[in-house]
């Protein structure tokens, strides 16, 4: 059975506190890399039509996409989307056609322009600012702790010196340690 007092003291390694952060950075980097590489292949016309159908609101239903509805209007829109994809129209052209008929409410995802841009920009920006602020606060606190040592009273100092002296006497070692 090993005595904790006999455990050899390890030299201080300055890089140890950074290990979790480096590991986190590697995980995030790998995840982003995988995500980016998956979008590399061009979607088939069917995949494109399915993706468009998923964000078009069924005009005669309540809050579901044309992809999820069997209503006649949804069926007609799915057919029109498939035909326009086959004809080589871009996603933006297909959305524009449907908006020209039903209005912007036909899109389940609101278009990103004007004020609606802020809906998409503000949350990530606020999150990034909050993370940066937290990092700054934590770093400052850490530096302050390092810079300012905790004041030790004479009573505490005497208490620790006595404990060290008793420990060294118990172990049969010379009294080499002193509280600084």
């Amino acid at each position: 059975m090993s005595d904790p007092a006999h455990r050899p003291s390890r030299p201080w390694r300055p890089w140890v506190p950074w290990v979790p952060w480096v590991a986190l950075a590697i995980v995030v980097g790998v995840a982003l890399g995988l995500g980016a590489s998956r979008g590399g292949t061009a979607p088939t016309p069917t995949q494109r039509a399915d993706a468009i159908d998923a964000v078009i609101r069924c005009p005669s239903c309540e809050g579901i996409s044309v992809a999820d509805s069997s209503a006649s209007t949804a069926v007609a829109i799915r057919g029109a989307v498939a035909a326009r994809v086959r004809a080589g129209e871009s996603d933006a052209q297909i959305y524009a056609f449907l908006v020209s008929r039903y209005g912007p409410g036909i899109l389940l995802r609101p278009p990103v322009h004007g004020w609606t841009e802020w809906v998409w920009v503000v949350p990530p920006a606020a999150l990034a600012m909050a993370a940066a602020g937290l990092a700054v606060v934590l770093l400052r606190r850490r530096r302050r702790r390092r810079r300012r040592p905790v004041p030790v009273s004479a009573e505490d100092r005497a208490l620790v010196e006595r404990a060290l002296w008793e420990r060294s006497r118990h172990l049969g070692q010379p009294d080499a340690m002193r509280v600084r």
């Binding site: 005009p59 005669s60 006649s72 209007t73 007609a76 057919g79 020209s100 008929r101 039903y102 209005g103």
Partner: protein
């Protein structure tokens, strides 16, 4: 022996409870009767003008075979006011507006006057034909298999009606059952005489 005595409650409390029950039943009866009267005397639901992107734009093409066996082309009606009505035999508001549409078509039967055109919405040609015949409708009704015409007009569900000017521009879009009076009002207003 009364039930109050059996229950262990006083006769006074029993009488009070019966009075309360009578009052509650009376109030519920009055509220129910008022609700029934309100629903029975409420004016029928009418169409509302809706602001859609198509208003002010060129009317999408309407063409194809009619329920009567002929063919129809909206472009051939340039120079006349056209009322385009999307309908289905299974839709109660369509059944509600049909007599008014018949009256409107009859009132505007003179050559060169406004013309009514029906577009069948999600209905079989046989039931739509039977519906038109049974209501005395004589205007052309275009069959729309696949709902392409409805999609081009941004129709969500019948009945929906569009007013098209003589130069082929959509000037108004209505959602719900039309009346003869409202059709005449909007037509006169579009002509600038209303």
């Amino acid at each position: 022996m009364t039930s109050a005595l059996v229950d262990g409650t006083s006769p006074g409390a029993e009488v009070h409870r019966r009075h309360t029950a009578k009052w509650v039943a009376g109030v519920a009866l009055v509220v129910g009767a008022a609700l029934v009267a309100l629903l029975a005397t409420r004016p029928p639901q009418t169409a509302t003008e809706v602001d859609t992107p198509l208003v002010g734009q060129t009317a999408p093409a309407i063409g194809g075979s009619t329920l009567g066996g002929g063919s129809f082309d909206l472009a051939a009606l340039r120079g006349r006011w056209v009322v385009v009505n999307f309908f289905a035999s299974w839709c109660p508001p369509c059944q509600q507006e049909q007599p008014d549409l018949v009256a409107f078509a009859y009132a505007h039967r003179t050559p060169g006057d406004a013309v009514l055109v029906g577009v069948v919405f999600d209905d079989s040609d046989s039931t739509a034909r039977a519906f038109m015949r049974s209501t005395g409708a004589s205007w052309p009704a275009v069959f729309d298999p696949g709902g392409q015409i409805a999609l081009d007009y941004g129709v969500r569900g019948p009945p929906e009606t569009f007013l098209v000017s003589p130069d082929g521009i959509v000037v108004a879009h209505f959602d719900g059952p039309m009346t003869e009076a409202s059709l005449d009002y909007w037509l006169a207003r579009a002509k600038g005489t209303g």
